[in-house]
């Protein structure tokens, strides 16, 4: 029996007859939670979010309540800004797009509540440039919400004012990094800022305190206000609360987007029961659990997972890949991460060197070029993996590749360094034999599967 989805964020998405119209949203109880929030005090909403245990859904999994807690409105003389990160560009991730294109008012409501809670009067939605239609949908939704007085001046008869504007990016992955996003919104190249001192909560947009939250995170805020933080925390498991939007792509029978309680199902259940198994009845070879930056997991691997028992003592269990529950802590304990929820599946016919060359090409294209280890290293990793994939490698390329990757992680301003080094480190270590075969080959292996890497 497949485990049932728990649709909280996706409750109305893809329902027959459900449209992006505000009237449709109001019919399903839309903006009721905003009205409720407006009767509460801002700090009390922040407290509820802390109680809920919500962790950011953009990739890092940082506590949202804590992020908000860094902003102290009583000490601030500068205005506070909020930016919704709708730059969705982590390979393998396509969840925020569903919300923007199919339920834009849910995002606006969550955002308005978050803004009210943190005393924000000017907010932006930074949407990736390719979502031209998505930007138009959101703009129309903002107009509708303003006409019904859910945004703008004196919201719902209170003294609270809020303006939300849409800001389109222009095709740069690095704009998903929150300080890069802020620079981009200021009209500059998206060069991430160094922390300290440029923590967004202190020196963010226009050097003012700024909150940057992902689309899915902000939608969760609406549901936390609706049910209360304590009730929300009952969904999922401790430290991994709520639901998670999972995006499955690659070699499965039924790829797509799903919503489950965090940790409610294992990788095996997701692949076999929900996604109908590996394509064509083939076998699993590898899987990337949280967007292409996450370290790859290999079929058949076993992991020693330490976890806290209900009585507080620690226990260590050994589990196989298929038995890993999809939550933040277990995936981290298995050496990878839950990241953005983008799960990419590769079957037994895939060439891991080509897969890595594909990923390395992405990072070489997207490095912002600010820090030398990443600017140079990402290009070298693309060059080496591509020549290996094309049968033009050197026997010592594997060591060289690993060496380059090891000299990027931890040596850059932002986490892009880790994001481009982790796939290389994990692929090379876990599939060493395939890389060795390629390094010794004199011409590319003839393969019956799709081409994955540049020539």
């Amino acid at each position: 029996m497949p485990i049932a989805e728990k649709r909280l964020i996706f409750a109305n998405i893809d329902k027959p007859g459900y449209t992006i119209d505000i009237d449709c949203y109001l019919k399903v109880g839309g903006y009721k939670d905003l009205k409720k929030a407006l009767t509460m005090k801002g700090p009390d909403i922040v407290k509820e979010v802390k109680t809920s245990g919500l962790r950011g859904r953009g990739g890092a999994g940082f506590s949202t309540g804590m992020k908000w807690g860094f902003i102290d409105p009583t000490k601030n003389t500068k205005p506070v800004y909020l930016i919704c990160n709708a730059d969705e560009s982590e390979p393998g991730t396509f969840k925020d797009k569903q919300i923007i294109y199919k339920d834009p008012h849910q995002l606006l409501e969550g955002m308005a509540i978050a803004c009210y809670a943190n005393n924000v009067h000017l907010a932006y939605i930074y949407i990736r440039g390719e979502f031209t239609l998505g930007a138009k949908i959101l703009e129309k939704a903002i107009e509708e919400a303003k006409a019904k007085n859910y945004l703008g001046k004196g919201i719902a008869g209170t003294a609270y004012d809020l303006e939300i504007y849409i800001h389109r990016g222009a095709g740069a992955y690095i704009c998903g990094e929150e300080t890069g996003l802020i620079e981009s919104l200021e009209g500059k190249r998206a060069y991430p800022r160094i922390k300290p001192p440029y923590f967004p909560a202190v020196l963010g947009l226009y050097m003012s305190p700024t909150i940057v939250n992902n689309v899915e995170t902000l939608c969760n805020i609406k549901h936390i206000v609706a049910m209360g933080g304590a009730e929300y925390a009952k969904i999922g498991k401790p430290n991994n609360t709520g639901t998670r939007l999972l995006c499955v792509s690659g070699d499965v029978e039924k790829p797509g987007y799903y919503e489950f309680e965090v940790g409610a199902l294992t990788i095996g259940e997701l692949l076999n029961d929900v996604c109908g198994g590996i394509k064509g009845g083939r076998k699993l070879k590898a899987l990337i659990p949280g967007g292409s930056s996450a370290k790859v997991l290999k079929a058949g691997e076993r992991y020693k997972i330490k976890s806290k028992k209900p009585d507080g003592s620690m226990e260590e269990k050994e589990i196989g890949l298929m038995d890993i529950p999809l939550d933040f802590d277990t995936l981290a304990a298995a050496g990878s991460m839950a990241g953005s929820g983008g799960i990419i599946v590769m079957d037994e016919t895939r060439d891991m060197v080509e897969c890595l060359a594909n990923i390395a090409t992405f990072y070489a294209h997207e490095s912002c070029g600010q820090c030398t280890p990443c600017r140079e290293g990402s290009l070298w990793m693309k060059k080496i993996t591509s020549r290996l994939a094309n049968g033009k490698g050197h026997p010592d390329d594997i060591g060289l590749l690993k060496n380059v990757a090891d000299n990027i992680a931890g040596k850059t301003i932002c986490a892009f360094g880790e994001a481009c080094a982790w796939p290389v480190q994990s692929f090379v270590t876990k599939f060493k034999d395939e890389f060795e075969n390629h390094a010794l080959a004199t011409k590319p292996k003839s393969t019956t599967t799709n081409k994955l890497a540049p020539v």
């Binding site: 390979p91 000017l122 200021e186 009209g187 294209h365």
Partner: protein, 191 residues
């Protein structure tokens, strides 16, 4: 700053010769701003009450949607409008992949190259489009244009629709699960 400003306030036309003598792009449409262009730009600027500079990206989008690419005149005009130096705008055009300094095809085909789409046949699909549209070899930015300027085909990185690979964009429209047959049908649609 030079007194030779590019925009003639009376006619609202741009005189690039004044700024870039001899560097006028022959493809550029006479550089008269369409009616309503400046009003649209002014409206966009109101979205950024704290800093006009924030309007750089939206104005670049507006320019490219109007003229097809960012010409030197565009860089001049936007920087002037926002009280910036031209280099502040040029450095954005060279940084953000969506902005072009040269015209692309009338019908712009962008094929996702990243892993999930490649697993679903993105490389073969891009090759198919290149053949069908008879575009030549890609330039240094990866853009291949057909000799008549009708089509351009290029690879782009992850378009965030990985569950329905392979994914493409034609102009501003997304298409998912694109088989070679569907590709042919789409080409007829965009004739």
């Amino acid at each position: 700053m030079s007194t030779n400003r590019v925009v003639d306030p009376a006619t609202q036309t741009v005189s690039p010769e004044k700024v870039y003598p001899g560097a006028v792009d022959p493809h550029h449409p006479a550089a008269a701003l369409p009616k309503g262009f400046e009003a649209q730009a002014d409206e966009i600027i109101t979205h950024y009450p704290v800093s006009k500079r924030s309007a750089s990206l939206p104005l670049l989008h507006l320019w490219q949607e109007t003229f097809g690419y960012i010409s030197p005149e565009g860089i001049e005009w936007i920087s002037h409008k926002l009280g910036l130096q031209p280099i502040n705008i040029l450095e954005l055009v060279t940084f953000y992949p969506m902005f072009r300094q040269h015209p692309a095809g009338k019908i712009q085909i962008r094929v996702c190259r990243t892993l999930s789409c490649a697993l679903g046949g993105g490389y073969e699909l891009c090759e198919h489009f290149r053949e069908k549209c008879q575009v030549g070899e890609p330039d240094t930015h990866g853009l291949a244009i057909s000799p008549d300027g009708k089509y351009s085909v290029e690879f782009v990185e992850c378009l965030a629709a990985c569950g329905t690979a392979p994914v493409i964009m034609i102009n501003d429209d997304f298409y998912e699960d694109v088989t070679h047959q569907r590709a042919n049908e789409l080409l007829l649609k965009y004739k």
